[in-house]
Symmetry: C2
Subunit: 222 residues, 2 copies
């Protein structure tokens, strides 16, 4: 019985996600769902990416998912782009229903790129399609080189994997060879970007790749 209810929940989620996709298509908006552990640097990455997109005449907007606080949305707000904070309470992921109304409250005709920062969680957000064009996963070197192996699901369904905080490698036991070996095992197709989101190192290559990917607008499903 529990499985049946779960199936219904997923069906209900996908129905709303499809409506979101239709809405995004109508306004020609490309959407990215960013997923990582808490504190991997998702918000800092967005702060680093957004000025690049603006300088390329791509108009971004952001949805911020968190259990509590509007700390992240306030950081994004300073970049003077549309942003909504979604507080999930005890919810461990964003689902389509949570973002359905916030998306409609955005000025959709002034947006080219919707950046969705999911709740910090390397497990639960994986299964919930939000109508996005692609998922990008992120892991920071301070989390260790084995995260791809131990939390494989999200890395299966992500088109890109960002390795953040590379400046901290010298102070950790992170083994880059092992990391790439594990990535090849879990998802040989995933595109990997090494970055330092605080300083912006490596962000250019990621921006170029996203801009190229935006030309192929097909949505990706899990």
């Amino acid at each position: 019985m529990e499985v049946k209810v779960y199936a219904n929940v997923m069906k209900a989620n996908d129905r709303i996600a499809d409506q979101i996709r239709t809405l995004l298509d109508k306004y020609n908006i490309f959407a990215i769902n960013f997923i990582s552990s808490p504190g991997s640097g998702k918000t800092t990455l967005l702060e680093s990416l957004i000025p690049h997109f603006i300088s390329q005449n791509i108009r971004p907007a952001v949805l911020e998912g968190d259990l509590a606080t509007s700390v992240d949305a306030e950081r994004i707000k300073k970049l003077d782009i549309p942003v909504h904070q979604i507080n999930t309470g005890s919810g461990c992921h964003l689902d389509a229903n949570m973002i359905f109304h916030p998306i409609q409250d955005l000025p959709l005709d002034t947006i080219d790129l919707l950046l969705i920062e999911n709740v910090g969680n390397l497990v639960c957000p994986t299964g919930f399609y939000l109508g996005e064009n692609m998922k990008i996963a992120m892991v920071s070197v301070t989390e260790g080189d084995d995260k791809v192996l131990k939390y494989p699901l999200i890395f299966h369904v992500s088109e890109a994997l960002i390795l953040n905080k590379i400046d901290l490698i010298p102070y950790t036991n992170f083994n880059k060879d092992k990391f790439y070996q594990y990535c090849a095992q879990v998802n040989p197709k995933v595109k990997i970007f090494e970055i330092n989101a605080v300083k912006g190192d490596g962000v250019n290559a990621l921006v170029e790749w996203i801009l190229e990917r935006m030309k192929r607008t097909e949505p990706m499903r899990n």
Copy 2:
């Protein structure tokens, strides 16, 4: 309807957790449920703690929760104590049912302290009582100083909060004053330990505190 099913699931979990508690009481075993994000350093902390307990004639055993691999259990196995790995597949937390049989497969009459390393996730494990005496939460400085605010639930129900990787503070923008201020806001009673699990700095104080806490054997419920 979904709420009702969820309630039943929680009731079923608590019924099994109570059976686990009864079993642990029978063998006079104290149990700790360690909860953190992926890569905060739970396994490294256990590797650091275990020799201290052994030297104090406390006999530990470990249950390792992960989506996939037996990497963590293999690390603990080297310390020559009983350990079982529990792979949850896509499961985002341990529940009582998952550990019920693995616990019974441990040599219970040779164990004083059961260390349960939950799946790396700062949200979902919070609500699932496993029959433990207490929860200990962990956050590493590289995750940022705001995690307690943004993921408050786990910090409400934990007796101790470990701040790990304190040696990396100089290379990050972690603000210790803010961190303590946020902790005081969310749970003024929580006992905070600053440690470097890799080098063992600060672990002595944590061991002493756990040994004291073990004298008060009452189980803690959410």
